[in-house]
Symmetry: D2
Subunit: 335 residues, 4 copies
């Protein structure tokens, strides 16, 4: 149930209502919009007397809400959320790109790429230190050392960093990370989501390998229900029957669909979404035109010798050109 | 097998080679590029002596081609094909929009919409006279009468018309139609494709409901192998597990993938691709940014009362605004 | 809307009701069950006064029916339909196998295989004369000649024949065929379905390449609404993301799902459903255990040299063993 | 690479070869078959001299192996693996059923159901204590208390227990559990798999929500590469476009496909695979006919009031009847 509280309602009356609901074992979540308070009531709300609630003098409207997602729901929070990653804003008209290699490989590599993407005008550095690989025999990332190298690249360039956390046990290593990524294989690893929910670190939450839009929102809900509202959603391609020419099918309609359903920012990853470097520019431009709040793009100084996902990486030069075109598309879209 | 013939080779030597191949029961297709002839050899080409062929003085290169599609293959025809629909060009840098209602409903309706889309700067009118409907009890279109009404709208506005043919038996009714559409349920109706292949009318060939990119190209091949090379491919959304918020999943990566594989123009239909009018603008802009050669968009004067597919139609006013934005995206893409 | 007429109602009263409904432009379909008449009313039935209808003395019950399929609906026809193919019954407890090669290749081949499957105790011969092939350059079947060879094999063995019709123009060639197959690529070729609906020949209707269960029933409805109620449904595998090890994903749950929804018999094709001969026996046994009314299995005397679909054919010897095991499973299921 | 060692080879020669390979930084895994040792060599085996290895007197054959799964590969371990869950064997001709409620709800509930399934002749009790739920607001299981209640039900009936572990942090609570289940949302939670790999507890590894067969085997590989070879694979339905009538599409062809690829036992879960109680009996019988080594079936004393997944539970009476039919199918299959 959603209760919109009238502006300038006395604080004690609001508290009284909240306490009364909590005593009846409802979970009450408070959303402070620009100038109005919204209460989200979770539990068997069918037992509540809607008319009685609507008649209270502090209540503007009270209505049942059938969507299973509450905190992420735009109905509870009509304005776009703006998430700040180390000072770089995403959402609510703010657009930026997270670029960098799939895996951090060495100090020279990550710092070089960070400098190159900064020159291309981009605000965020991405790179994997802990890597989820289908095979236990494949390179699993530089781990702790990779995180340190990312921090050095951040120091050298000023770019905030985005990197993946795979296991709740490593969360203490991510305290100084600007944005935690949850990968597609962990989108429904609920215990991991709960742990991240206890921090305040911005989260880039990827859609599952074959995840529905509703599941993506429910996974955001796990993080938000535990106290962390800084969630950015990421479309990264879904699994379909078409796999001869693309690794996944990038579902760009997820951008306008999510825009309606949620106030959270939406980022698109055309690198994993297609798995082919030569498809990335077209799909990056298309994602920008569809209204994404940001992009995640893999850039590698030497794609042919990358330790992971080389075939989908752009070179710094290709990326530089693309970043300029993306800015032009943004101008058309936002004018 | 693909044989590139050297420029200025004597005609009789070429004919001699072609005859020799035909006598060995190979099918030989000739593709005349801007200044070079390419021969496509179909059959058990593994039995041919590649070195012998390469050593002929009229042969520049001869190589096996593993792709099952030949006539549609860019390797045989490196330049983009440009298809003229009643004088309106699609492909090779030429972009246009096919707009109009799902079903032709009356003279007033189709003529009114035609005028409105013409005012929006669009070059082609679409509208269904024969309608494939999942239920035998649903409205099946105005049929012959619908075709006549389309021609009247063409006369009133000068816009060439695109409309669907469902059954080879009706092909005689389509002689004066500018572009024949093959719908998603008929993409692999091979007898229909063969019949259309015997005409020279431009064809808009839709991808199957859950068709692969390869199947789309093979269906184009059925039309082309019968003599009609005027084929335009159309991405219209594919069937995936995600159906809560969209009717289909629009696969925009099909645009750059097809661009590499084939010389045929590629049009995107965001109306069927999403099934929701409020998603159409974002997806139309995204398709243009992805490099499509054209768009097919449903426009209806009164979507709430449309006889078919109302929920995915734009009003003429919404369409007018969108068409302007699409032109701006095209400017960014083609500069 | 479904109206159950009371037993022993006077014929003129029933006719009076039917005429009254038809004058209001409803389509009225009559289903004669074992001892009761059911009327299916198609049209805008929301405008009918349900209470008035229920109060008529010849009406037992009248109720709205939300399912879009009517003639195929079990609610209209509670008993299982039994379809006779040249005297061999399928449905309502009658089980049989349609076996034979993917393509008819020669008189010797088809007659030999027919004899072999007859020895295995099987009642129906299948074989393709008209072949839908993804590539226009592949073998397209022996066509008319293939039909003649099938009839010769029938004459030699007494086995009724099942074979595919691809184009309504060829329907006159199928007058003496016992069961017309509609292939997966033509499941929504509505003009073909309508033509077949005008005959009384039993039809084996395959589920589309990625067809839903509802679409399969709606396609059956196209045939039945045109007058031919002899429809057998065929599950033949659906297109999913899993294609490394199987050609399609055989959806055996379609058997019990369809059993609830429709009175039509359900046959399973594990040969196309898996595309691998070594998976066919397990899946054939599983289909029988799931309650299928029949199976369609590809058998070829020399799978390695079959002109089409060799990798999914069993040898006559393998088939003989399998047919025996299937009979044992049927015994467990039906006891 | 796979190296088959000759029978009766001297132990020191084998050790010498293993050490030599390990010094070259290859991972060497030893598989002891019934009477032969097989070495699996993991790493850049292309650098090894195959002919040299083949010429060693203790080597019977040495060959490259392209499959990415090694420990789970039947090529390395030709005989079926037999896994003992608290004395109840699965695999290699041994078949059993894991039955019980989706969630443990109370002492009375779980003990009652355990007794009922024991009466039905079944060997293993399943029940969820930790529940992965899409919504953070839904019942998440009785957790520690649920595990205790399961142990009490085991004590009362003697049935070994199978229950899900969601988070590596809880693994210490599972020391006295007979079989750890990894749920479909955690199939690629690699850190969880690694932790379970350090135990010797039998594992029931479910296929991912839209997981491929190869991914399932690679996840088994994560467990086995860490030392735990007691892995049972579980087909539980995959996500497809068909969701009107079933929750998932049960992929029974996975049974014979996995049988070829791996020596690990294969269990089928028709309850989650269909999501509908009335489809479970048909699909359970079909799974048995397809050759599954076991079944997992949800049974609840009061499905209408179950705290989770009620619509897919059988009553104890329905289950009793089904278990008898399954035994009859097994008799046909194994005779």
């Amino acid at each position: 149930m959603v209760i919109m509280i009238k502006r300038n309602s006395p604080k004690e009356k609001i508290e009284h209502l909240v306490t009364w609901l909590q005593e009846k074992e409802f979970i009450v979540r408070q959303f402070h919009g620009e100038d109005q308070l919204v209460l989200g009531i979770i539990g068997k709300t069918a037992t509540l007397d809607l008319e009685m609630l609507q008649s209270l003098d502090i209540v503007e409207t009270a209505s049942q809400m059938s969507d299973p997602f509450k905190a992420a729901n735009r109905k509870m929070h009509p304005e776009d959320s703006i998430i700040s990653i180390g000072g770089v804003k995403i959402g609510g008209g703010n657009f930026d790109i997270m670029a960098g290699p799939c895996s951090v490989e060495s100090r020279e590599q990550i710092t070089y790429i960070a400098q190159k993407i900064k020159e291309a005008g981009v605000g965020l550095l991405r790179g994997g230190a802990f890597k989820p690989r289908t095979s236990p025999y494949d390179f699993q990332g530089l781990k702790d050392e990779g995180l340190e190298l990312l921090k050095e690249a951040r120091k050298a360039t000023g770019l905030p960093i985005v990197t993946e956390l795979m296991d709740a046990k490593q969360i203490h290593l991510f305290e100084d990370i600007d944005c935690i990524q949850v990968g597609a294989r962990n989108t429904q690893n609920y215990d991991l989501l709960k742990e991240i929910g206890k921090t305040k670190t911005p989260v880039l939450l990827k859609r599952g390998l074959a995840g529905t839009i509703k599941e993506l929102l429910m996974s955001a809900e796990y993080i938000m229900a535990n106290g962390n509202e800084n969630v950015i959603l990421c479309e990264r391609g879904i699994r379909t029957y078409e796999s001869d020419y693309t690794r996944n099918t990038l579902d760009l309609s997820a951008v306008p669909v999510l825009r309606k359903l949620t106030h959270l920012p939406i980022v698109v990853d055309p690198s994993h979404g297609t798995g082919k470097a030569d498809l990335v520019p077209s799909m990056a431009l298309a994602a920008a035109a569809a209204g994404a709040d940001g992009l995640m793009i893999e850039v590698h100084n030497d794609p042919a010798n990358a330790l992971s996902d080389g075939p989908q990486c752009l070179t710094p030069e290709e990326f530089h050109t693309l970043a300029g075109q993306i800015r032009q598309i943004r101008e058309v879209i936002t004018q």
